[in-house]
């Protein structure tokens, strides 16, 4: 323990371990970082019972508000409260400035990449990105070639995952990023749990996110529809993010529709209302490409609406995010994002990538197969922490299994060195322990790029775990971006 800490803080931290991983709250020597001082002092002074009381009252608030998510593959209790940690994660103004500039740059380039690949494919002709990498991606949508997308915006809503401390982008979510409702509800609960602390810190607001999202969607409406009817398309009540869909629809004051509510006629999309059919102009889509239109994509899906794609192609309805955007968050294409930024914007990436080995390359594959116990292997098209091998925590049998799969289909996998994820203090029982965290800010792209200052801090609540996904036992924290 550091000698510089007051007694109360010594008790608070107990045997809080510090090692080579970046700790959000404490410097390597043990001192509390300046912007965390006020939080640490408050915690040290708060009686233990009072802290637990606040925790319970926050728990109850989540439960009665029904802030839950659905876990797949279990029969019982499929509805769970989203686990969260009571202590906020703090980000200074300077850190945020860098994140904001970095993400704006990155999203701009990614959008240009999508526009390019689905029209002239210059970046492929100039051999910056290998042609076969793009055309072998399972999220590449041939149907999107040559299609004019409103305002050339392919990715109106993005959530990119970052590691802080040592800043790197872990992945981009360009299809249907989720979690923003937890960012908003966490803030509401935290404001009630630590009102004075919140006030004294000067935290930048995020509550206007739904309004910004609505404005973004409105800006993408088809020409000649000045009063667009905007809807949110959900797969339905069994989807893991259903709470979020209802939450956003309610906050924006738009209808939440399911595929069965929609019909198309003469390339126009309508929804079935009690007053008859009503035309739909903008669809904020929370259904994957595959399930959106059984006539174009998967024929066995009943979640989407037959004829939707043709109405979209005809320009009678805006669907966002566009189809085929999963191409750009493919984990192998990810490796080329810094090249895209250089190619389209002539700039260096402000937020770097994690070093990524492409297993289609013979030399890199050989290196990876020899070092499976040190690396993380990920399937390129998966998300949510599925299809992943974490080398240092794996068994020999798991590694063999992955080696076999990699040999069979090298394009389907990438490998990365294990990262020292940044760690933040969490309230575990009645004391503080560090847990791995990442950060997912939400980026909106309509007339211009808009990022609300904050995001979802995801926490691997299990000790030592690196997986932060809610479907795999992860939780969240409120994220406070400070005014200064």
């Amino acid at each position: 323990m550091s000698a510089g800490l007051p007694v109360e803080m010594e008790t608070l931290f107990g045997d809080y371990p510090l090692d080579q991983a970046f700790d959000e709250m404490r410097e390597r020597g043990g001192d509390v970082r300046p912007h965390y001082k006020a939080l640490a002092e408050m915690l040290a002074q708060l009686p233990e019972e009072e802290l637990l009381r606040r925790k319970q009252s926050a728990d109850l608030s989540f439960l009665t508000q029904g802030i839950t998510f659905t876990v797949y593959g279990r029969d019982e209790g499929t509805e769970r409260i989203f686990p969260y940690d009571l202590l906020p994660r703090l980000i200074t103004a300077a850190e945020w400035d860098r994140i904001e500039r970095g993400l704006t740059q990155r999203i701009t380039a990614l959008n240009m990449f999508l526009r390019d690949v689905y029209s002239d494919a210059k970046i492929l002709n100039d051999r910056v990105i290998p042609r076969e990498l793009v055309y072998s991606c399972k999220h590449y949508r041939r149907q999107m070639r040559g299609l004019q997308v409103p305002r050339n915006v392919y990715i109106a809503v993005v959530g990119s995952d970052l590691n802080t401390g040592e800043y790197v982008v872990l992945e981009d979510n360009l299809r249907v990023p989720s979690g923003v409702s937890y960012m908003l509800t966490n803030r509401r609960v935290m404001k009630r749990t630590f009102p004075q602390l919140f006030h004294s810190y000067g935290v930048r607001p995020i509550e206007h996110y739904p309004q910004l999202l609505l404005a973004t969607l409105r800006s993408l409406a088809p020409e000649g529809r000045p009063e667009p009817n905007i809807v949110l398309l959900t797969p339905g009540v069994f989807n893991s993010a259903y709470f979020e869909h209802t939450y956003l629809a309610r906050q924006m004051g738009i209808d939440l529709v399911e595929g069965r509510d929609l019909v198309t006629h003469d390339n126009i999309v309508y929804m079935r209302t009690t007053d008859g059919l009503k035309r739909v102009d903008v669809i904020y889509r929370r259904v994957d490409d595959d399930f959106s239109d059984p006539l174009i994509f998967r024929g066995d899906s009943i979640l989407g609406c037959g004829g939707l794609f043709n109405a979209y192609r005809a320009g009678n309805v805006t669907v966002t995010n566009a189809f085929g955007t999963g191409l750009a968050d493919d984990k192998a294409v990810y490796a080329y994002v810094p090249d895209m930024i250089r190619y389209y914007l002539g700039e260096d990436a402000i937020l770097p990538n994690v070093k990524t080995f492409l297993l289609g390359d013979d030399k890199e594959r050989k290196h990876v197969l020899a070092n499976l116990d040190k690396l993380v292997v990920k399937a390129v098209g998966e998300s949510g922490g599925y299809g992943m091998l974490i080398g240092p925590q794996s068994t020999a049998r798991q590694r063999e299994e992955f080696a076999r799969q990699i040999e069979a289909n090298p394009r389907n996998y990438i490998a990365q060195p294990t990262l020292d994820f940044s760690r933040a203090p969490c309230l575990i029982g009645n004391h503080l322990e560090p847990r791995h965290v990442d950060l997912r800010p939400y980026i909106l792209f309509g007339d211009k790029v808009n990022i609300v200052p904050g995001g979802l801090t995801r926490v691997a609540l299990e000790k030592g775990s690196l997986v932060v996904n809610s479907s795999q036992g992860g939780g969240s924290k409120d994220t406070w971006v400070l005014e200064e």
């Binding site: 439960l63 009665t64 508000q65 029904g66 339905g236 009540v237 259903y242 709470f243 869909h245 209802t246 939450y247 629809a249 309610r250 209808d255 939440l256 529709v257 399911e258 069965r260 509510d261 019909v263 006629h265 929804m271 079935r272 209302t273 009690t274 007053d275 008859g276 059919l277």
Partner: protein, 320 residues
């Protein structure tokens, strides 16, 4: 509003109304069993089951406590309180964006109350308190609905569901009770007949309201008149039918490209039947048949609501 959403709000409301009806009938039946009248517990239980629509698997087995618990906590039986609360919540969950957060929190609390590990043991300790707290929960939900929800189409569909369920349940109740209502021992002064009649009124939370209109002079004719024909009491069938008409008119005014002519005709006929008939005329005719007609018309209204607002054909909607 979306047809699917209207459908869910309508059923959310019907389920809660049904839950409340079951709770009230159970409460009244169990308190009547405390008195040593000629009517056996078994007869009472079966009569209650008949007025709840004869749910299967609820045959009398001499263990009142176990049966009452089942009627409250069963999750598969359509008349059971927990089944109805689950149904209401499931419907509400599918339209979270339409109802207010307060409504959802209220309903969620009722749901967790029914499913709490302590619920069954509390029920064993004090049945009356347990039943009263369920009714409280439902009343609070209705109050919150009226004060926090915009009184647009969604709210009207909630009213529609509530009134239709109530009209149907009251008509069923009266149909089941009416053979016993006009027994020759009407002038019986032992007090048991009085308790029976008050019980019937309490099944519709209408004892106090009845006394305000007729004083405590309890008679079968007046009860029937009150529960069928009163214009101002929310549990009287006439009031609920007028309420349905009002809800349909409001829905029509707020959007309404296609006037639901047939639906209005059926409700209108029912209104006329209840508005322009005296109790003497009803009693002179076939009471059972009169009540049965009300039930049939309620089912017809339900079908027409679906045909006009939920399951209409695309062709018919494009034509207008």
């Amino acid at each position: 509003m979306l047809s699917r959403v209207a459908d869910s709000l309508y059923w959310m409301s019907r389920y809660l109304e049904r839950a409340e009806n079951t709770v009230r009938q159970l409460d009244v039946t169990m308190s009547l069993m405390l008195d040593t009248s000629d009517t056996s517990a078994e007869v009472r239980w079966q009569r209650m089951m008949a007025s709840l629509g004869k749910p299967p698997g609820m045959e009398w087995n001499d263990d009142l406590d176990a049966m009452a618990r089942m009627l409250v906590f069963d999750t598969l039986n359509h008349a059971a309180v927990t089944f109805c609360v689950n149904g209401a919540r499931e419907n509400a969950r599918q339209v979270r964006e339409e109802i207010s957060s307060e409504q959802w929190a209220r309903l969620n609390r009722l749901y967790h109350q029914m499913h709490s590990p302590h619920a069954q043991s509390q029920f064993r300790v004090n049945i009356n308190d347990a039943l009263a707290s369920v009714v409280d929960g439902i009343h609070l939900f209705k109050g919150v609905s009226d004060t926090t929800m915009i009184h647009g189409q969604g709210w009207q569909f909630i009213r529609l569901g509530r009134y239709l369920e109530r009209a149907y349940a009251t008509a069923t109740l009266l149909e089941v009770y009416q053979p016993d209502l006009f027994q020759p021992n009407e002038q019986d002064h032992s007090g048991y007949q009085y308790l029976e009649l008050v019980g019937l009124l309490r099944c519709c939370t209408s004892f106090e309201a009845y006394c305000q209109v007729y004083t405590a002079d309890i008679s079968s004719e007046q009860i029937l008149e009150f529960l069928l024909l009163n214009r101002d009491f929310p549990h009287a069938i006439r009031y609920t039918v007028d309420g349905m008409r009002d809800a349909i008119d409001s829905i029509q005014r707020s959007g309404g490209r296609r006037p639901p002519e047939e639906l209005i005709a059926v409700i209108g006929r029912l209104q006329a039947m209840l508005g322009y008939t005296t109790i003497q005329e009803i009693l002179a005719g076939d009471v059972a048949k009169f009540l049965h007609t009300i039930r049939e018309q309620c089912m017809r209204i339900h079908e027409l609501i679906y045909r006009y607002y939920v399951h209409y054909s695309i062709q018919s909607a494009l034509a207008t």
